[in-house]
């Protein structure tokens, strides 16, 4: 196996709203024999709220620098952290002047561009690889799954690691663990509305509704995703969407690491499946 040890950036939602994503990521990588070294004292990447690129570069230089000291590539389960790490890495690698300027803010921001930022899905499918994962599977997750990628895995092109309109990595992983992908291409990469949740809740709810509705109509048992903001919007706010728009979905939303964890035989509690807001018990019945 090509990867044995990685720096791990859990991201802010890992501490509360996306606790189950954090738990399942750690459990899955432990099972796969990849050591995760949590970036010591990591900071927020600025998310989508830091619109000034300089702020993004400085914030992310710190996390990159900590991982670089250990000479480890840095992995995150959060799509937005990934996007910010990757574009900072690109910008700092290409611009020596900017590197020097950021280092001058504080010595802890000295980053030399020697490591690579990765998203969990990228590491699983491209670095560890389907063969290696397959050799460790002990159960079949016989679910109909709507694979939902959201925005930042295939967009923008400078940081993407999957196709912008028809990404495949999650589809492949779901098939690998015994699941079936329902037709979902129209919604795979559509924005969940998360970034508008607190300023234009009405739009955000409509955007979430479209995704939930399509999954339901396609006969999905659950939606699988890879971003904590999508998780917050589609899972934690699902009852609010239902109430506001007078609809009923009761669509379980799971992180892809939770599904993989089940196939690897990891206990559902360890994967945090009791923490998803929409009940996931029905999913567990289909793990054989």
């Amino acid at each position: 196996m090509s990867v044995e040890k990685l720096a791990y950036l859990p991201g802010c939602p890992s501490e509360a709203t996306a606790l189950e994503q954090h738990m399942s990521t750690e459990a899955v990588f432990e099972k796969l024999g990849v050591e995760l070294v949590e970036v010591e004292e990591w900071n927020c990447c600025g998310a989508a709220e830091a619109e000034d690129p300089n702020l993004v570069y400085a914030l992310n230089a710190r996390n990159l620098a900590i991982a670089e000291k250990d000479n480890l590539d840095i992995m995150t389960p959060c799509s937005i952290c990934y996007y910010n790490l990757a574009r900072t890495n690109n910008a700092l690698k290409a611009n020596e002047e900017l590197r020097a300027e950021i280092k001058a803010i504080d010595p802890s921001l000295e980053y030399n561009g020697t490591i690579t930022p990765k998203h969990v899905l990228d590491v699983l499918m491209n670095d560890i690889g389907p063969e290696e994962i397959k050799s460790k599977l002990v159960k079949k997750v016989e679910l109909k799954v709507a694979p939902y990628y959201g925005c930042y895995l295939g967009r923008p092109p400078e940081t993407a690691f999957d196709d912008p309109d028809d990404p495949v990595l999650m589809d492949q992983l779901i098939e690998l663990i015994g699941g079936e992908n329902v037709p979902f291409s129209a919604m795979k990469t559509k924005c969940c509305g998360g970034p508008l949740m607190m300023t234009r809740g009405d739009l955000a709810f409509e955007m979430a509704r479209k995704i939930l509705e399509r999954a339901k109509n396609a006969g999905a048992d659950c939606i699988a995703l890879a971003c904590p903001l999508c998780g917050m919007m589609l899972d934690a706010k699902q009852p609010d969407v239902e109430k506001a728009l007078n609809v009923k979905f009761e669509m379980p939303i799971v992180y892809i690491t939770q599904l993989l964890g089940l196939a690897l035989g990891i206990d559902s509690k360890k994967l945090g499946l009791q923490k998803n807001v929409v009940d996931t018990k029905k999913i567990l019945e289909k793990v054989v």
Binding site: C12, A16, A50, C151, M207, A236
Partner: protein, 208 residues
């Protein structure tokens, strides 16, 4: 909208071109691919990134900067990914939003959206603690948006009462998850908060 040629600001496009992310504005050939694929346009037909770019190129500074539509972009990057001219539409819009904030500070326009308040409240928690603190963000944002503490609390309860209860009952916030009494309720602070302060100060200096 009628175009008053005597009110155009021919330098406006240069303001955008000079900012990081705005460099490719003039490559736009108005094909509308950005707008056709936009999930916001799907819901709000008047929302039109192509038009915002064209108005910017024409120099319709005030109209562009005070356009409330700037603030309903979900930053999903679909426009950027699909643009055949590599305009980096999403970044161009971000540049325009930042110019709008500066224009508001200078008293030139009024922004009709709570989004700048939200982003500022978000970033305040990062500056203060090194990490996002959801509750701190909400406690700053809602009162400012609603204009008073009481109205803010009311709006916050309306939006987040159910959500908060779910987080509590699922043990993601509070003691029920067995991760500690105040899990997710108190701010998670990093030790090097002085570095955060330095970063934000540097950004502020650079913006001047």
């Amino acid at each position: 909208m009628p175009i008053k040629t005597w009110e155009l600001d021919p330098n406006f496009k240069n303001e955008i071109l000079n900012e990081q992310g705005g460099e490719h504005l003039t490559a736009c050939y108005q094909c509308s691919t950005c707008t056709l694929g936009c999930p916001i346009t799907e819901l709000v037909p008047s929302y039109n990134p192509r038009k915002i770019i064209q108005m910017s190129l024409l120099g319709m500074r005030t109209e562009v900067l005070s356009n409330p539509d700037l603030w309903i972009c979900a930053i999903c990057q679909t426009c950027t990914a699909r643009c055949p001219q590599n305009v980096v539409v999403g970044d161009v819009l971000a540049v325009i939003r930042r110019l709008a904030e500066k224009a508001e500070e200078a008293g030139e326009i009024k922004i009709e959206s709570p989004r700048p308040l939200f982003e500022t409240a978000f970033l305040h928690t990062v500056e203060k603690y090194g990490r996002l603190y959801d509750i701190g963000l909400a406690m700053e944002y809602y009162p400012k948006r609603e204009g008073s503490f009481v109205a803010g609390q009311k709006a916050m309860m309306n939006d987040y009462m159910g959500f908060g209860m779910r987080m509590f009952l699922k043990g993601k916030m509070g003691p029920l998850g067995g991760h500690g009494l105040f899990k997710g309720l108190l701010a998670s602070k990093i030790k090097q908060r002085d570095v955060m302060e330095k970063i934000f100060k540097w950004v502020e200096e650079k913006e001047k």
